[in-house]
Amino acid sequence: MKQKNPVWTLLAVLLVASLALAACASPTATTVPPVDTEEPDETEPVVGDFDCTGVTAGDSVSMLYQWSGEEEAKLTAILQPWMEACGVTVNPESTRDQALLDTRVQAGTPPDVAFWNVPQLTQYKDQLVDMNTLGANAANYAGYWGDIGTIDGTWLGLPVKADPKTLIWYSPANFDAAGYTVPSTWAELDALVEQMVSDGNVPWSMGFESGDATGWTGTDFIQDILLVTQGPDYVNQIIAGEIAYNDAGVKEAYEIYGKWAMDPAYTVAGAEGTLSTGFNDAILKVFSDTPEAYMVKQSGFASGTLLGTYPDKVYGVDYDFFGVPGAQGLQGGSDWLMVFNDTPAVRSLIKYLSSDKGGEMWATIGFDLSPNAKGNQSYTSEEAAKKADLLANATGFTPDIGDSIPGGFGSAEFSGITDYVNGGDLDAILNTIADAQADAMVQ
């Protein structure tokens, strides 16, 4: 009995302390508030390159995005000039958990804006605000961006970041040492691969492993092969459900891919290596001190990954890339800004990002590529400029098939290719995925 008292006292103290701290704790603004010493009043409508019409200093915009770490730092740097000019603070939240965005939207408390993926434009189309109402400048974006961002005739998404995937990374130093040259047609690429194999080298490094999205590097590769063999219109028709996934063209692409992905002569450790290597590790294998392969097909972020582990590598000497030869158009990942609440501060954000200044800032900071065409001349690194060129000259741009078809298609595609590399029956697998595709169209 006596023993109880100090315990209860301690508990009571802890409880009261927590409650007190909670009451006194002020919310942590994780961005630097603008230095604004004047009394809060309406900001000037136009401050330099920024259109701040209707914004009151101290307004805030709540944001939700998937970027964290260094990516978040880049976004903050891009938004900084706008925040200072218009006197807006940003309340950001960062999570890769789709559940959070979904819950907030369903419960009626969405963030003001969200930076998310293409399927969410369709998923939340009833809650999003038309970009035209918000004053976005459509002229700065190529036609295909508008196509992707328009759902049921309304322009709902502003593309802010693009990362082409149709690239093959290699080490010029290793190529030179072995006497290989960069291919410019698909036939040349095929011949180069055969050449490497007969020299006793392993051409490809592949890695599927990626948590619950395991397999996406494989489906990306399939889509790039389709861009070569069939073209972007074919891909877009698959996305629209007009061409079934078990079409002959798709099967051919899988067979081309399978020949490389499952054979230890063509890719590091064959099927097992493909399945169990992490997608980041696959990149590293081409550039390690004793490289295990000569090429890896990967998106633009690959350079960031390899510099993380091998910071001494030099672009152009130790690592470089070329577009998948023969691809008619590019496949790429893209991030989209979508708006749930129409406020003056949000409008000024939209106007900023779609303006010339916005495009330039994005390219200067170097947060991947900016779909905003005005950024094309502002890239600070040779590598980014080369990617931007590829994007600017692309005759078509297709988003990821798996990202674009709603419902269970994406995960069916990932499990499908994983099963295929694991030795499954291709026809059965393609039928299953086509089934998921048909199913998605009906829901």
Partner: protein, 320 residues
């Protein structure tokens, strides 16, 4: 029977029990019961809850009307072309995996927890030993995912960064990709689960063992019983109610298990469990109808265990 039960509890003024119960009932109704009813309701709808599930039927495919989501939840993972394929696909479906998890993880964590609790009761550094077993619970699932990445990692070059493959290659064999080969991968994940949850079982069982009065143990030692006999014939029977509680709790935890699978394989390579499947349907595929149907099935799976527990309580009270 009824007389015996009521004799063991005291009669009291009407309404006193409700005084004790009301806060709990109110809170749980708001936070769990109401959402659960909402969930059941959604399980009869389509992807975003705007229409009945019957509208999602496709031509030429079997259709269960408003139970369409349940049909999907129960049969989608099965390949029903032949008996053999059905059997095979069942064992890598989320239901088959649940059976594997239940059998191995519950026996593993409760068994090891019990044996360890009994053994450590006798040594001096008990608190330290218990803390070591308990520590994995304190590491969040994200941390555990990283830890076991360093155990299971599969390296394709000469160098291995995962210790299990390092041991295997050290012995001269080829490295194994632990997490991609079914059905081994499910058991590798179960190992992680046992590693994390044994501390939980051990803590509860240890406190139960300590509540056995000292005299009984001493008396039997004097009578010449060995440690094993004391364990099997005295300790286990006395703490049997606690063991059953621990088993029930572990069954519930395993049924709900999500994080370990999600963090390590995402449910791929045939490691899917019910909770990861529910998550994938709800958030990745944005299909509320199917996600909630899976959740309802999960809730229904626990019913037999509840019935068993209630029966046991009734018997227990009759004996008091």
């Amino acid at each position: 029977m009824a007389k015996a039960v009521t004799a063991s509890v005291m009669k009291q003024k009407k309404g006193v029990p409700w005084l004790y119960l009301l806060p709990a009932i109110i809170v749980m109704t708001i936070f769990i019961l109401y959402p659960m009813l909402n969930t059941v309701n959604l399980s009869f709808g389509n992807a975003n809850g705007t229409a009945s599930a019957a509208t999602t039927c496709r031509e030429g495919q079997p259709c269960w009307g408003i139970f369409e989501n349940y049909r999907y939840a129960l049969t989608n993972e099965l390949n029903t072309t032949t008996i053999a394929t059905t059997w095979e696909s069942f064992w890598v479906s989320s239901y088959g995996n649940m059976i594997k998890w239940l059998l191995v993880m519950v026996t593993g964590s409760v068994g090891i927890g019990l044996i360890f609790a009994v053994m450590v009761d006798r040594i001096k550094q008990e608190a330290l030993a218990k803390s070591i077993i308990f520590m994995p619970m304190a590491i969040s699932f994200v941390g555990a995912g990283v830890i076991w990445k360093f155990v299971y990692n599969y390296g394709t070059s000469q160098v291995q960064t995962g210790i299990l493959n390092a041991i295997i290659t050290g012995l001269g064999f080829q490295p194994v990709s632990w997490l991609t080969g079914s059905p081994l991968n499910t058991f590798m994940l179960v190992v992680v689960g046992v590693w994390m949850w044994t501390g939980f079982c051990m803590t509860l069982l240890s406190s139960a063992i300590k509540s056995i009065p000292e005299e009984i143990i001493e008396a039997s030692r004097i009578d010449g019983a060995t440690n094993f006999e004391i364990f099997a014939k005295i300790q286990v029977p006395i703490i049997a109610p606690t063991i059953i509680v621990v088993i029930t709790t572990m069954v519930i935890n395993v049924l709900k298990l999500f994080d370990i699978v999600y963090v390590m394989t995402g449910g791929n390579y045939g490691t899917n469990v019910i909770a990861t499947r529910m998550y994938t349907e709800m958030y990745t595929n944005a299909h509320y109808g199917r996600g909630t149907a899976i959740a309802v099935i999960l809730i229904l799976l626990i019913v037999p265990f509840i019935v068993m527990n209630i029966r046991r309580f009734t018997k227990q009270e009759a004996m008091r």
